[in-house]
C-alpha cells in the first residue's frame, strides 16, 4: 500500500467548527463577491479540467504525467477555494479529504494514489457541473447586482441562489453518507484486525513472562527445598544455605509476579486513574518528568489503560533515545477528546514508525479511534500528542 488515509485537513469557515448552524451567514455584498470570484475561477477550472483529462489520456507517456502534475494540484486548489466558500455560506465545515501519497512516494505511485482517490473523480465531476450550472448561478448573482433595475431581485434572491450553489458544491466536493460509511467500515475492519493481533501478542507475552519468570522461580524454590530436605541430616550447613537460596528465590518470584501484574494493569491505574498512574510512573523514572493534568473525571477503563501504556511507551522512549534533561506530560480533556501530550527537550528526530513499541501504541489507540501525532524536528523538542475521543465519568465519590 502506498497510500495512507489520514485525518482530513479541515477547511472550515469562521463559524464552522464548534458552532454549526450559525444563524447569520455572510452579508449580501460578500455573497456577491464570492459569486464574482467563482465566475473568475471558472476560467482556470476549465483550463485545468481540460489539462487533467488530456493528461490522464496521455498518462502512459511522460508528457501526460507532467500535465497531471500541474493540473491535479491546481484543480485541487481551485476546488478547495470553492469548499471554503461553501463552508462560509452554509456555516458547516467542508473538509478536503484527499488521500495523501506515502512519504517519498515515486512519481508513478503518486499518480496512482490520485487515480485511486475517489475525491479526484469527484473533483472532475464537480468541474463539469461548476462550469455549467454553477457558472450560470454565480454569473446570475453578479448580473443581478450589476444591472441596477434588478436590484430588488438581487436583494431578495442573492442568499437563496448562493446557498443553492454552495449546496451543489458541497454535494460534489465532499463524500456522501454511503461513502463515509464505507470508509468507516474499512477503518473499523483494519483497526479490529490489528486489535486482535495486538491482544494475541499481549497474551503471548504475559504467558512467556509468567513461564520464564515467576513459574520458573517457584520451581527453583521447590528444587532448593527438595535438595535441602535430602541434605538435612548429612550436611545441615549446606541445607541451610539451600533454604536461604529458596527464600531469596521466592521473593524474586513475587517481584516477578508484581511486575507482570503491573504490565497487565497497574494497580495504581485502577486506584487513581490515568493521571495518578502517570504521576507514579514519572516518579520511577531517572529523568525528571513534570505531570500536569486537568481531568474532571475518569475516562472509560479501556481508554485509560490504552492511554496509560501509550504514555509509558513514550516516556520509556524518551529515557532511551531522546538524550533529554527534562520531560513533561500534559493530560487534558476537551471537545469530547482526551488529549495527552508527552514532550521532551532532547535532540529530536524521533521516528514514529521506528520501533515496534510505537506501532503497538498506535494500534492500541486506533481501536478507540485515537490518533498519535509526532512533532520532532532536529535538535528538538519532541512533542507527541495522543488523542482519543471519549467521555469522562464524574469523579468517583467513594466513602473513604
Amino acid at each position: 500500500m502506498t497510500e495512507q488515509t489520514l485525518v482530513p485537513e479541515r477547511l472550515s469557515g469562521p463559524g464552522g467548527r464548534g458552532s454549526p448552524g450559525a444563524p447569520e451567514g455572510p452579508d449580501r455584498l460578500k455573497l456577491t463577491g464570492y459569486a464574482f470570484l467563482q465566475v473568475l475561477l471558472a476560467v482556470p477550472t476549465l483550463l485545468f479540467f481540460l489539462v487533467s483529462v488530456i493528461g490522464g489520456v496521455l498518462a502512459v507517456a511522460w508528457v501526460g504525467l507532467a500535465m497531471l502534475f500541474v493540473a491535479i494540484p491546481a484543480s485541487r486548489w481551485i476546488a478547495n477555494r470553492h469548499r471554503a466558500i461553501a463552508s462560509r455560506i452554509l456555516g458547516t465545515p467542508v473538509p478536503a479529504e484527499y488521500r495523501r501519497p506515502a512519504e517519498g512516494a515515486h512519481l508513478v505511485d503518486r499518480t496512482l494514489t490520485w487515480a485511486r482517490d475517489p475525491m479526484t473523480w469527484r473533483d472532475l465531476a464537480w468541474a463539469l457541473v461548476s462550469l455549467t450550472v454553477g457558472f450560470t448561478i454565480s454569473l446570475l448573482t453578479v448580473l443581478l447586482l450589476v444591472v441596477v433595475v434588478t436590484g430588488a431581485l438581487w436583494w431578495y434572491g442573492v442568499e437563496p441562489i448562493m446557498r443553492c450553489r454552495a449546496r451543489i458544491d458541497l454535494a460534489l466536493l465532499s463524500y456522501g453518507h454511503a461513502e463515509r460509511l464505507e470508509q468507516r467500515v474499512q477503518v473499523l475492519t483494519e483497526t479490529r484486525a490489528s486489535t486482535v493481533d495486538h491482544s494475541a501478542a499481549e497474551l503471548r507475552r504475559i504467558e512467556r513472562d509468567l513461564h520464564d519468570g515467576a513459574q520458573a522461580r517457584l520451581v527453583a524454590v521447590g528444587m532448593s527445598l527438595g535438595l535441602a530436605e535430602t541434605l538435612f541430616e548429612s550436611d545441615p550447613e549446606q541445607a541451610r544455605v539451600l533454604i536461604g537460596d529458596a527464600r531469596a528465590t521466592a521473593s524474586a518470584a513475587l517481584r516477578e509476579l508484581r511486575s507482570v501484574v503491573r504490565g497487565i494493569h497497574p494497580p495504581v491505574l485502577a486506584d487513581r486513574g490515568v493521571g495518578g498512574a502517570v504521576e507514579a510512573l514519572a516518579l520511577d523514572l531517572a529523568l525528571p518528568v513534570t505531570v500536569t493534568q486537568e481531568l474532571a473525571g475518569r475516562p472509560p477503563a479501556p481508554v485509560e489503560s490504552a492511554v496509560y501504556f501509550a504514555i509509558a511507551e513514550c516516556l520509556a522512549n524518551v529515557g532511551k533515545h531522546a538524550g533529554a534533561e527534562h520531560a513533561w506530560v500534559e493530560l487534558q480533556h476537551h471537545d469530547g477528546r482526551l488529549v495527552a501530550v508527552v514532550g521532551d527537550d532532547g535532540h529530536g528526530g524521533a521516528d514514529p514508525n521506528g520501533g515496534t513499541g510505537m506501532r503497538g501504541v498506535m494500534r492500541r489507540l486506533a481501536a478507540f479511534d485515537g490518533t498519535m501525532a509526532v512533532s520532532s524536528p532536529d535538535r528538538g523538542p519532541t512533542l507527541i500528542t495522543l488523542e482519543v475521543p471519549c467521555a469522562l465519568s464524574s469523579p468517583r465519590t467513594t466513602p473513604s
Binding site: R208, V219, E229
Partner: protein
Amino acid sequence: MRLVLAEDHALLRDGLIRILQAGGFEIIAAVDNAPELDQALADPAAEAAVLDVRLYPSFTDEGLRAAVTARERRPGFPVMVLSQYVEHLYARELLASGDGAIGYLLKDRVSDVAEFVDGVRRVIAGGTVIDPEVIASIMAKRPEEPVDRLTAREAEVLALMAEGRSNAAIAAALFVTEKAVAKHTNSIFTKLDLPVDIDDNRRVRAVLAWLRV
C-alpha cells in the same frame, strides 16, 4: 551414568545439576539451547538425557522434538522430558517414539528429589515415567476403548504402571500382595489384547494402549 542436560533457565539448570550430581549421575553437557543440545546428543558418550521442553531459539517445543529425533537415531535412548506444564498430546508423541525408556514430568516433581532421581533411574532402566497430571487428565475422560473393560482396581494398577513402578512397588502403594498385583497385570494384558511372548514390553505396551485412548 553420563547425562546430557538441557534447561534454558540458569537457576533451574544449576538446581538440576546439583540434584542429579547428588543422585550419582555425571553431567557431560549442560546446555540452554537447541543447537547445542543437538550437538550434545550426537555425542556417543551420552547415555541418557534430561530435557526441558522449551529452549532457545523459539521457546516452543525444541526439547520435545530433540527427544524424538534422538530416539529415532538411537532407538531406546533414555530421555526424561521436563516441563512447566504437561500435555496429553506431548506424552503421546514421546511414548510413540519407541518402547519405554521415556519420562515426562512436571518440573515441580523435581522438588521431591529422591522420587525424581528414582524416576530418572527407572527411565534409564527402560521404564516409562509419566506425570500423574497427564494420567489424571486421561482418567477424567471416558472414551469407549478397550481400557474401559478394566475394573477400577485394574485401572489403578495401570496408572501406577504408567509411573514406571514395578509390581512390588505397586503392591506397596495399594497395600496388597505382589501376587494380587501380578493377577491384575495379567488380567490387564488379557483385556488389552497384549500377547504373552513379548513379556518385557507388555507393561509399556499396556501403558501405551491406555495413553493413546
